[in-house]
């Protein structure tokens, strides 16, 4: 049964008219605060609305992330969009349908149950009554609170939800249109901003003559404190000016990063706020002890399209076009950072390249807005260069994880401790009361940074996300060392801490199975008493022929990884087949997932496969390195990601569970994939690599050790 408890999106935006309107004949306008970041969310939302209203998907027009119109729904993150935002739209549409049908029944002198809806028209015994949503929209006021009590459809009656509706945004994208980067008003002012090499660096000087010479066309310089922008009519000229400025800029002070930042030893040596959370039976168990330590490096989100934003400040009103993940939060914090009232600022979400977490979209928006306030009446367009995406973007933090288990007589963990060292995983706009716009920090007298905390466990945790293993563990202890003083803007990347925690936990489970002399999948199944995860693990094992492929030959092996994202969202089990010589090669990947009610099976598989490839890339290739105080991996050559020639065939099976609530899916396969590859590599090599990534250097070092 789909729960009718009010989702957060609806309690925050309780008025029906915040969500829905029948303005244009034959069309329904559905507003959402969730935004398209490449995951197909607007298509899924369209399906949900069309289903509950009994209109066709073509009749639905989504308005997404426009702050004057759309409900404020926090960030498009955490795999919450369908589960929370979609749930709100389902309840709103069910209630609106019911209000209209009750009124139509009253007018027609019949029962509402005698009426049905097709294409928005109301039918009685299959015959058109002449009434529809549009002819009656004047009679029913939607500026009323949602009750959330109208019955939603039974999943068994769905006609649109559960079918793979083609993505609504793809036709424009294969034709070469659709991105914020392509908005080009007449007389636009192009701008580039000089970025600081590390946090709080002070600009000593840059070579202004070299900048003018490089630009080859008129360019203006705007400087306030350490915020320097080059503006002009020619994008090429401002981009050349900014490159020359970067090449010649001299910096001092601030917080340069040490070269070893993020290493396991560095993390464990940092001052930290520590806490312990104990669960289960009291006391400690005695027995055989197994321990292991793991780590992950800093990662960048690495969107293929660098950030872009436009802004216009006119008659006291600031309009902003941004590919932010949180339009309403961005509006609030742009206003605060610029000393304006919230009502002066309107954010219009426009699509950018894929966002896999807190990228530079919000920073670009601040840049454009700040420059706009200095050039009233003009439209400012800021484009970030690729190098700044590597050097100045928020960064996904390194983590160290130690696991310790005490095994009972049956070799099951009787006592389990996970200890996590990590800076916070969230410094989006507004988090901890900081604007967190990199441009705002460069202005004179920036507000002092408020104390950093990580996302609370009640909201899925940051470093502790998936820190609690899903297995039957009678005694569980989690120790979290939150490192507040890292000299970097550590923030959210797909899955936050989950990726590393799942890597560590699933590696450790394999190590325990090995200590017990048991098969890793059988060992997992014996620790999963809940039938739902049990089935997911069994399905992946079956798909891959796990139990028939015990010996694939030298240097070749299967590995298993499993998790339930955040322990409340989708379940995903992944099997990876690898071949290892000097490098790791992926041969094949299988994934079984349970996401409850799936809105679009093809869309879900697309998300799972994308997560698999991204998770594999994180695990096999990716690491941000530091030198001379700043990021040293400033190009794709320094920061390789998986390419076409690295990608194996991937089989995905969705476990059909339409009567269970939709579970967030977008991040679910990332962690299990890394773990499956790590476990496969360990089995192929006969030695385990506990510090990611699984590169040629690490393989060589691991084989040489001991």
């Amino acid at each position: 049964m789909i729960s009718n408890t009010l989702p957060l999106s609806l309690t925050d935006n309780p008025i029906l008219s915040q969500w829905i309107a029948f303005e244009e004949k034959g069309r329904v306008r559905i507003a959402t605060g969730k935004v398209e970041i490449g995951q197909g969310i607007l298509t899924a939302m369209t399906q949900i609305a069309a289903e509950e209203l009994d209109v066709t998907p073509e009749q639905v027009r989504m308005v997404s992330g426009e702050t004057d119109v759309s409900p404020a729904e926090y960030f498009t993150s955490g795999s919450y969009s369908v589960a929370v935002g979609g749930a709100a739209i389902r309840l709103v549409c069910a209630e609106v349908r019911s209000l209209f049908l009750d009124r139509a029944a009253e007018a027609l002198g019949c029962k509402a149950s005698e009426l049905s809806v097709e294409g928005g028209k109301f039918l009685r015994a299959g015959k058109d009554t002449g009434r529809d949503y549009w002819s009656m929209s004047g009679e029913i006021k939607l500026d009323r609170r949602a009750s959330g009590t109208a019955p939603t459809k039974l999943p068994s009656t769905y006609r649109i939800v559960g079918k793979s509706l083609p993505r609504l945004d793809l036709p424009a994208k294969v034709a070469g249109a659709a991105f914020i980067h392509d908005i080009a008003p007449e007389d636009v002012v192009h701008a580039r901003v000089l970025r600081r090499p590390w946090r709080h660096a002070r600009l000593v000087a840059f070579d202004e003559a070299a900048v003018r010479k490089a630009a080859k066309a008129p360019v203006d310089t705007l400087r306030e404190g350490d915020f320097v922008a080059f503006t002009g009519a020619s994008e090429l000229a401002v981009s050349r000016a900014a490159e020359a400025a970067r090449a010649s800029a001299r910096w001092e002070g601030g917080m340069p990063a040490p070269d070893n930042i993020g290493d396991r030893e560095w993390l464990k040596a940092q001052p930290a706020k520590s806490r312990t959370v104990e669960n289960g039976l009291p006391g400690r168990a005695q027995g055989r002890v197994v321990e292991a330590e793991y780590s992950r490096p800093f990662l960048t989100y690495g969107s293929i399209g660098p950030a872009c934003a436009l802004a216009e400040f006119k008659d006291g009103a600031l309009k902003v076009w941004s590919h932010t993940q949180g339009p309403s939060i961005q509006r609030d914090w742009l206003a605060r950072a610029l000393g304006m009232e919230t009502k002066q600022v309107t954010v219009f979400h426009r699509q950018g390249a894929g966002a896999y977490g807190h990228n530079t979209a919000d920073d670009a928006a601040f840049d454009a807005c700040y420059i706009a306030t200095r050039m009233p009446g003009r439209t400012i367009r800021v484009q970030w260069p690729r190098e700044d995406e590597f050097l100045a973007a928020p960064i996904s933090t390194a983590m160290a994880i130690k696991l310790r288990a005490v095994l009972d007589d049956e070799n099951k963990p009787a006592d389990w401790t996970i200890e996590i060292w990590s800076p916070p995983h969230a410094q989006r706009p507004g988090m901890n009361g900081n604007s967190n716009f990199t441009g705002a920090e460069a202005l004179p007298n920036p507000p002092p940074q408020k104390e950093l905390n990580d996302i609370g466990d009640d909201r899925g945790g940051g470093a502790t996300r998936n820190g609690v293993a899903i297995y039957d563990l009678p005694r569980h202890r989690l120790i979290h060392h939150m490192i507040p003083g890292a000299p970097l803007r550590t923030s959210s990347l797909r899955g936050l801490g989950a990726w590393a925690n799942v890597y560590a936990i699933e590696s450790f489970i394999d190590e325990l199975a090995e200590a017990a002399g048991e098969d890793p999948v059988s060992y997992r199944l014996a620790l999963l008493s809940d039938p739902r995860p049990h089935r997911v693990v069994e399905t992946a094992a079956q798909m891959s022929g796990w139990f028939d492929k015990r010996n694939l030959g030298e240097g070749r092996a299967l590995g298993f990884g499993f998790a339930r994202y955040k322990n409340i969202a989708s379940f995903a089990a992944v099997v990876a087949e690898v071949e290892v010589d000097q490098d790791v090669r992926l041969k094949r990947i299988w994934c079984a997932a349970d996401a409850g009610l799936v809105i679009s099976p093809d869309g879900a598989k697309n998300q799972i496969e994308g997560g698999i490839i991204q998770g594999a890339s994180f695990a096999m290739r990716e690491r941000v390195r530091f030198e001379g105080g700043k990021v040293a991996t400033a190009t794709w050559a320094d920061y390789p990601i998986l390419r076409f020639s690295d990608i194996p065939e991937i089989d995905i099976e969705l476990i059909d569970n339409p009567n269970e609530p939709t579970l967030g899916l977008g991040e679910a396969s990332v962690g299990p994939t890394g773990a499956a590859i790590g476990n496969a590599v360990a089995r192929a090599l006969g030695k385990r690599i506990r510090d990611l990534p699984l590169t040629r250097d690490r393989i060589a070092a691991t084989l040489l050790a001991e």
Partner: protein, 156 residues
């Protein structure tokens, strides 16, 4: 210093006044208003800017505009005709080969050159042709299937 350059873009003659060292990408986007070719890295490392020059894939982000004078340039906009998607573009829709879609312009251009030269490419040949292109969303297998589908006349 600006000069006048003539070349053929998507079958039509184009004349621009530009700095000859300006990258072709900026001339296509800013002067000719063909905004489908994408800025990704500016250093020939991601393939988002790929165009065809006389039918051969080339990075437009580093290509001097002067060097294409008198030549034929094809961008993603040139793959469709009269607003109708090409069979290759349609195959991408049929396979739902896209998430964010930012890399697709360049990939479509490279794939069209491959199919023009080799109407029945193997999976390995498709991979080789597309390996210069980065995709961060993880669409690789769908893209390969889309190219295979287009090669088979949309019937796979």
């Amino acid at each position: 210093m600006t000069e006048r350059f003539s070349f053929v873009v998507n079958g039509y003659p184009a004349e621009v006044t530009a700095d000859g060292t300006a990258p072709l990408l900026s001339v296509l986007r800013d002067e000719l208003n063909l905004r489908g070719s994408r800025y990704g890295c500016g250093t020939e490392q991601c393939g988002a800017c790929m165009v065809l020059i006389d039918g051969v894939p080339a990075y437009s982000c580093t290509r001097d505009t002067a060097s294409v004078a008198g030549r034929r340039v094809t961008t993603v906009e040139g793959l469709s005709s009269n607003g109708a998607l090409s069979p290759l573009q349609q195959a991408f829709l049929d396979e739902q080969a896209g998430q964010c879609g930012y890399c697709l312009s360049g990939i479509l251009v490279s794939a069209s050159a491959l199919l023009a030269k080799n109407p029945n490419p193997s999976r390995a040949e498709i991979v080789t042709a597309l390996d210069p292109h980065l995709c961060r969303c993880g669409m690789h297998n769908r893209v390969i299937r889309a190219v295979q589908r287009a090669a088979a006349g949309g019937s796979t």
